[in-house]
């Protein structure tokens, strides 16, 4: 690791007026060919390049990004991290990710600001309570730390929450202390920094037009900067994955929908844990800069405009103002949307396909950010070994034929 960052490096550079910090990553022109091309320069894509280089010794890699690094969903989510999913396969995958999060800052020597302040899923009716009690018990048997908290404990954790005097009172919550939030840009930049150091080419503003195949074997990609040859192509382009898959004749069961989020203006600390409420579609945490980061539900129709309908913002703010009345006196600073690729069973696809050398990591829907390191790690294994890792074995394409779905709709009414 050449570039070392610490308080010492900050002091050293202060003396030279911060003028000779080194470039974190180069933006070269693409070479003629690579062993592996990763399409999509978000957290998952850059992470895959990092683990391919670090754990599988494959360095002749190009990460090709249509826009700018981390410009897709990596830069548009509500940064929530948790692993309290219902089914074993999901719990193992997401917890593999949380474990990697826990020392990602050290590993990349780039501060992810991973703050394990706990994530709370509120129960607003008897059905919610039953569903959460089941998930807590399943999580416990899978070694996760989810526990039931009653209204009194909730009020201690979040004093500003209005638990009784609202249309659907808060009856309790499932709380995972190891859950939390992290700085979303830092993931993309940290992985870019370190994979570039290991020789990975990071190519921005280079859009993949289509994937070239020849009798069921991948040849390379046609891009806005010409054709680039590759033995293996790994597509991890979230909302655009099915558009690119189509060019290789592969059909994916994805629907791309806008998912919106918003931030408030910055204020002093007022809420120190992450609170999610599936029943009323409102998710809130407060960033270290003081802004409330609030997540909404998905829009009801397919769209690639990265901007959803205003009615969805209204739905979310109605719920937030009811749950936290004092937020009524605050103001929304910015609203935006990403494009999330949703699977019929609200679980991802990390899988090979019928075209040799072509791999897909997509379908994360509304819950992709939390899985960034875990997904990248097992996807690197799948690409390197041409065999899925044990953890992502179940997340294959065949499940939509044999019916072995991993239905996380319960958890993912909108999983954030």
């Amino acid at each position: 690791m050449k570039k070392k960052y610490s308080i010492l490096s900050l002091i050293k550079n202060a003396f030279s007026n911060n003028e000779n910090w080194e470039k974190m990553w180069e933006s070269p022109e693409p070479k003629k060919g690579y062993d592996v091309i990763i399409v999509g320069g978000g957290g998952h894509g850059l992470g895959t390049a990092y683990y391919l280089a670090k754990e599988h010794g494959i360095k002749n890699i190009a990460v090709i990004e249509k826009g700018w690094l981390g410009g897709g969903n990596t830069g548009r989510n509500t940064t929530i991290i948790r692993s309290n999913y219902l089914w074993n396969e999901s719990a193992h995958l997401y917890d593999h990710s949380v474990k990697l999060w826990e020392n990602l800052s050290e590993e990349l020597n780039f501060n992810m600001m991973f703050s394990q302040r706990g994530v709370m899923n509120l129960a607003h009716n008897e059905h919610d309570i039953k569903e959460m009690k089941r998930r807590i018990s399943a999580n416990r048997l899978n070694g996760l730390d989810t526990q039931w908290v009653d209204t009194k404990q909730i009020k201690e954790l979040v004093p500003i929450m209005n638990t009784e005097n609202l249309r659907y009172p808060v009856l309790g919550a499932a709380f995972q202390p190891r859950g939390g939030v992290a700085r979303h840009d830092a993931v993309a930049w940290g992985y870019a920094l370190r994979s570039n150091e290991m020789g990975v080419d990071i190519i921005q503003n280079c859009e993949v037009k289509d994937i070239k195949t020849d009798n069921h074997k991948v040849q390379g990609v046609n891009t806005s900067k010409g054709f680039i040859r590759a033995n293996k192509v790994a597509v991890v382009a979230s909302g655009h994955t099915s558009v690119l898959a189509q060019t290789a004749g592969v059909r994916l069961p994805l629907q791309s929908r806008p998912l919106q989020a918003l931030v408030s203006e910055p204020i002093k600390p007022v809420i120190n844990t992450v609170v999610m409420s599936n029943a009323v579609h409102a998710y809130v945490s407060q960033s270290d800069k003081g802004e409330l980061v609030i997540g909404a539900g998905t829009d009801g129709y397919n769209s690639f405009t990265q901007r959803g309908g205003y009615d969805v913002i209204e739905e979310t703010v109605r719920a937030i103002v009811e749950l936290y009345p004092i937020f009524g006196k605050m103001k929304m600073l910015r609203q935006w949307g990403g494009i999330v690729d949703i699977c019929p069973d609200a679980s991802p696809i990390i899988s090979k396909c019928e075209v040799k050398g072509l791999y897909f990591n997509c379908g994360w829907g509304t819950g992709g950010f939390k899985a960034t390191p875990g997904s990248a790690n097992v996807f690197a294994h799948t690409v390197a070994k041409d065999e899925p890792h044990k953890i992502n074995e179940a997340f294959n394409l065949e499940r939509f034929s044999n019916g072995r779905l991993i239905d996380e709709h319960g958890a993912a009414a909108v999983a954030h």
């Binding site: 005097n165 009323v280 006196k329 103001k331």
Partner: protein
């Protein structure tokens, strides 16, 4: 002492008001903003900057303000309020923000001393210290210094929404907006004119740039035009209303402050959110002056030139008698004229343009009033202790001199306010004449007029408007506009001035709100963040509450210089709605708190309340959960009582919330066979049957009872939660897949109130109530129904029950519901009839092994999994979901199956949601995952069997009957030994049902 004021300002009344700022009281005038009130009392220091806690003053006179954010203590501690917009009123109590202990002495300014270390993105490069330091030390410290205002206090809003549907929306009541409105008077277009200030006029009232219109002074012209508009039949005006969001298909959001300049009456709605649907949108929202980066350009006392002029013209207050003016364009001469009119004089006029480019009339005016004039010069920087004291000027031959001054007014040129235009998804283009972006191709019906479209020339304003509005065919309007300044703007590109001061602590700011210096931009580009979106995120440039209104174009200029690219190539970051921070209370409107979601009540809801029912939310319905016999009875006791009494004598449940659908038509039978798993063909008329509905994936979606009146007329019930979904599901398949089927559907959920009475004595009670119906087993067998006339209304009784007892479901018109319910109780008293709620219903059906959709089924359960194989019409060619049942995984042998579970030690209780395992104990700290066979879906203490009964879904459960296993407990490590049994605990032969 009375506050300073200019003589003839038409927009400020001379009624004095008292305001309090940081504990001290000041006097001001009605119509003042907080900023103009403070400037009247010569207050320059108003806040501390976000990151370095540097002293900050009032920088502008409007929505673009980056510094003057204050807290309104008497309005629930509202944080981050723009002092330059919020109107003051008598008794307003304001406090500054982000400083401790006080504004003048702030501990936070230690950040300024450490600022060389706090370079761009420093927090990514440190705070990674030893394990746990981030959670315990670094993060809490950062969070405490972050944020600006303190959180609000106990607040409940009453803001409301107001929807509008208009033909033309005019955004901005300035000169261009008024001309457009005047053209549209009494045409057949419904027009809405929206203005953010409390007065119309825009530049006419905010500056000295326009002298006369058609010979009248500007104030008179605006008053006259306003009167004409108000008299018109087709134009409405909204003042104090700021348009914040431009959505798709011309749908705009505007926020009206109803209490602008008044004390808020808490019983009324203080904010109204206007939601405007329009055919055409005319953006006439003007321009915003941008600043210039120079050394210490953030010192209190630096204020933009046109803002200074606006305080003079609009608010009648002169912030300073002899400011230094520093400009790169021809517009600032009107400020000089305003000062001269007040017998004040700028202490220096610094113009960056070459001498020959500066207009002669400006040079003559300056020399006539012998004002110190520095052509082809620029301000190198300024210095002072918490306010401007010295200004350093670099003249045309590069020599630096300094003069004393207390205020410095820069003007870096004007940006068309394209925020709303880009929100409408239109494209903008760089214009080298005005050195800024201006609107180019609109994506929706958007027309931009005046300075927002990059046209700063008053002379051809009218023909621009006539041309652009010609498609409305409303005739031309021409005005004689006389100005105080040269008509077309001449400007020299200037983003940042040179400084040779190499000190680490001298800062030239590019974003005042988030403390981003021009050095940070250069450093970010060195580190590889050269894409404009990366730059914004790495340095947080223009991400503050002002969204960089006065500085974001400057940052593009500086970046394009560093990368030596054209600014159009650098591009802009995405303008994200809202235009200015938008109140959450206004967005929520009145549909929050108790009105968050509609509440549905059954026709006999009041009876339940009178009989101390405790309610449960089921979808939007309020359903009785259980009935408290007396004050002290707990839920458990009530449910045990209700369950026992129903099995021993009789119980009655209000089932009105269940969905009811009427299906009629020639092909009704074929339709029902396709929609449900059951075969209805051989079903006899006037009988009923329990049925399952699957999704196409073969998983159970809903259940209900189907009554067949005849092959062409069915009545179906659904679960309460599933009612809308099932009705929509039926309509979808009928219209999109099988339009050839002649079938009609009507939802009749609300047309019948439903009472479910069951128990051994049920027959006696109903025979008394409906004396003319024969309830004998022969005449009224199980799963049949009768329709009859009850007091001239259609009524129906079906013999079925969800409790496993002898039971009847009575469907009665809502008109006679209460009367019948009370009649049943009159007769029921001698048979010990008890009203019961949903909890008892869940317990009784569990005793019978009946499933509940959403509890035993979770979207991954097929009919076979819950032993309903017999309900699948094998001979049926097709029904929704049939094919999915034979997929390899769905037909797999070891799928989870429904079983019953009883604890070996009858006194133990099994919790719902727990899991069935094979090991006796669980390790206290589970590291490696533990295999489980399935989960407990339902668990109750049965008063009728005197032990806990549970239902569970376990892998190959049907093969494990009789096996001994264990069930986990929520907290403990000792599992409960249990036995797997059949899920039907009471009356497996259904004798009670069919006797």
């Amino acid at each position: 002492m009375p506050a300073l004021r200019n003589k003839d300002c038409n927009y400020i009344s001379n009624k004095e008001i008292k305001i309090t700022f940081d504990g001290k009281s000041y006097s001001a005038y009605e119509g003042d903003t907080i900023a103009s009130a403070l400037l009247r009392n010569n207050i320059r220091l108003i806040g501390r900057s976000f990151k370095y806690h540097r002293p900050r003053g009032i920088y502008t006179c409007g929505i673009e303000e980056p510094n003057a954010l204050v807290q309104i203590l008497n309005e629930h501690n509202e944080p981050n309020t723009r002092a330059t917009v919020k109107k003051a009123y008598d008794g307003i109590n304001i406090s500054s923000q982000n400083r401790w202990p006080s504004l003048s002495f702030d501990i936070g300014s230690i950040n300024n001393i450490l600022s060389p270390i706090f370079s761009a993105g420093f927090y990514y490069k440190t705070f990674m210290g030893p394990k746990g330091f981030w959670k315990k030390i670094y993060e809490p410290l950062i969070r405490r210094t972050a944020g600006l205002g303190k959180p609000p206090k106990n607040f409940r809003s009453k803001s409301i929404h107001q929807n509008h549907n208009v033909d033309i929306l005019i955004v901005g009541g300035g000169l261009s907006g008024l001309i457009a409105a005047k053209k549209l008077i009494d045409t057949d277009n419904e027009v809405l004119l929206v203005e953010q200030d409390s007065f119309l006029g825009g530049i006419l009232k905010n500056s000295n740039k326009v002298k006369q219109i058609d010979g009248k002074n500007v104030f008179e012209w605006v008053k006259e035009t306003e009167k004409l508009i108000l008299k018109s039949k087709n134009i409405k005006i909204l003042k104090n209303t700021l348009v914040t969001t431009y959505n798709f298909t011309n749908h705009l959001i505007a926020l009206e402050d109803k209490y602008s300049g008044k004390k808020i009456d808490v019983s009324k709605s203080e904010l109204t959110l206007h939601k405007i649907r329009t055919t055409h949108t005319i953006l006439a929202n003007g321009h915003i002056e941008r600043f210039i980066s120079f050394r210490n350009n953030d010192l209190p006392g630096v204020m933009l030139a046109s803002s200074f002029e606006k305080y003079i013209e609009r608010y009648g207050v002169t912030p300073d008698e002899k400011p230094v003016i520093f400009t790169n364009n021809s517009s600032t001469v009107s400020l000089v004229k305003s000062l001269i009119n007040l017998d004040c004089k700028p202490s220096a006029y610094i113009d960056a343009r070459k001498e020959e480019d500066i207009e002669d009339e400006t040079k003559e005016y300056l020399s006539k009033n012998n004002i110190l004039f520095y052509p082809e010069s620029e301000v190198e920087g300024c210095e002072g202790n918490k306010k401007v004291e010295k200004v350093y000027i670099r003249n045309s031959n590069n020599k630096i001199s300094s003069i004393n001054a207390t205020m410095l007014c820069p003007s870096g040129g004007f940006n068309p306010d394209i925020h709303l235009f880009t929100q409408s998804k239109g494209l903008v283009k760089w214009d080298d004449k005005i050195i800024s972006f201006k609107p180019d191709t609109a994506f929706q019906n958007t027309i931009t007029l005046g300075s927002v479209s990059g046209n700063y020339e008053f002379k051809n304003l009218c023909n621009e408007i006539n041309k652009k509005l010609s498609f409305l065919k409303v005739g031309d309007l021409n005005l004689e506009i006389e100005t105080n300044i040269r008509d077309n703007l001449s400007i020299k590109e200037l983003w940042e001035t040179k400084t040779n001061k190499k000190s680490k602590w001298s800062k030239s700011f590019i974003d005042l709100h988030n403390d981003v210096t021009t050095k940070d931009l250069k450093q970010a580009i060195n580190e590889g963040y050269d894409r404009i979106e990366h730059l914004k995120r790495y340095t947080t440039n223009s991400m503050g509450t002002d969204q960089g209104k006065i500085s974001s174009i400057n940052s593009l200029g500086i970046v394009s210089k560093i990368l030596n690219k054209k600014i159009a190539e650098v591009g802009t970051t995405t303008y994200r709605p809202p235009y200015a921070p938008l109140s959450f209370a206004a967005i929520a409107g009145r549909s929050t708190y108790e009105y968050y979601d509609p509440e549905r009540k059954t026709p006999i809801h009041n009876w339940h309340i009178k009989n101390n029912a405790i309610f449960e939310d089921v979808g939007q319905w309020k359903r009785p959960w259980y009935f408290k016999k007396n004050e002290t009875e707990t839920m458990h006791q009530a449910v045990q009582r209700e369950s026992k009494q129903t099995r021993q004598s009789a119980g009655i449940l209000d089932g009105s919330t269940l969905g009811k659908i009427e299906i009629k038509g020639k092909d009704a039978l074929e339709f029902m066979n396709l929609m449900y798993t059951n075969a209805f063909t051989k079903m006899k008329p006037m009988t009923s049957r329990y049925a399952l509905m699957l999704g196409e994936d073969g998983m159970i979606m809903d259940d209900g009872i189907i009554c067949k009146i005849n092959d062409k007329h069915f009545l179906a019930t659904t679960t309460s939660g599933g009612a809308p979904k099932v009705f929509a599901h039926m309509e979808e398949f009928l219209q999109t897949e099988w339009p050839h089927l002649q079938v009609y559907l009507n939802s009749i959920t609300e047309q019948f109130t439903t009472f479910n009475i069951s128990g051994p004595k049920a027959r006696e009670i109903v025979s008394k109530v409906f004396s003319d119906i024969d309830f004998s087993n022969e005449k009224f067998p199980f799963m049949t129904f009768k329709t009859f006339n009850y007091k001239n209304t259609q009524a129906r009784i079906m013999r079925a029950s969800f409790t496993g007892e002898l039971g009847y479901e009575i469907y009665i018109s809502p008109q006679h519901a209460l009367e019948l319910w009370e009649l049943i109780f009159k007769y029921g008293k001698d048979f010990d009839l008890v009203p019961y709620g949903t909890e008892t219903m869940h317990l009784l059906r569990a005793e019978k092994g009946y499933v509940v959709i959403g509890q035993e089924t979770d979207g991954t359960v097929t009919p076979i999994d819950i032993n309903f194989n017999w309900m699948i019409g094998k001979k049926k060619k097709d029904f929704i979901g049939k094919r999915s049942l034979t997929r390899s995984d769905t037909a797999r042998e070891d799928r989870k199956r429904l079983v019953g579970i009883v604890p070996l030690d009858k006194s133990q209780f099994i919790e719902e949601g727990q899991h069935i395992v094979e090991c006796e104990n669980l390790p206290s700290k589970i590291k490696t995952p533990i295999e489980y066979l399935g989960h407990i879906s339902s668990s109750y203490h049965s008063p009728n069997l005197n032990h806990c009964i549970s239902m569970a879904m376990i892998k190959s459960g049907n093969k494990l009957i009789g096996k001994k296993l264990f069930v986990s407990t929520p907290k403990g490590t000792k599992n409960i030994p249990v036995e797997i049994v059949s899920p039907v605990f009471i009356d497996p032969e259904n004798k009670r049902l069919t006797s």
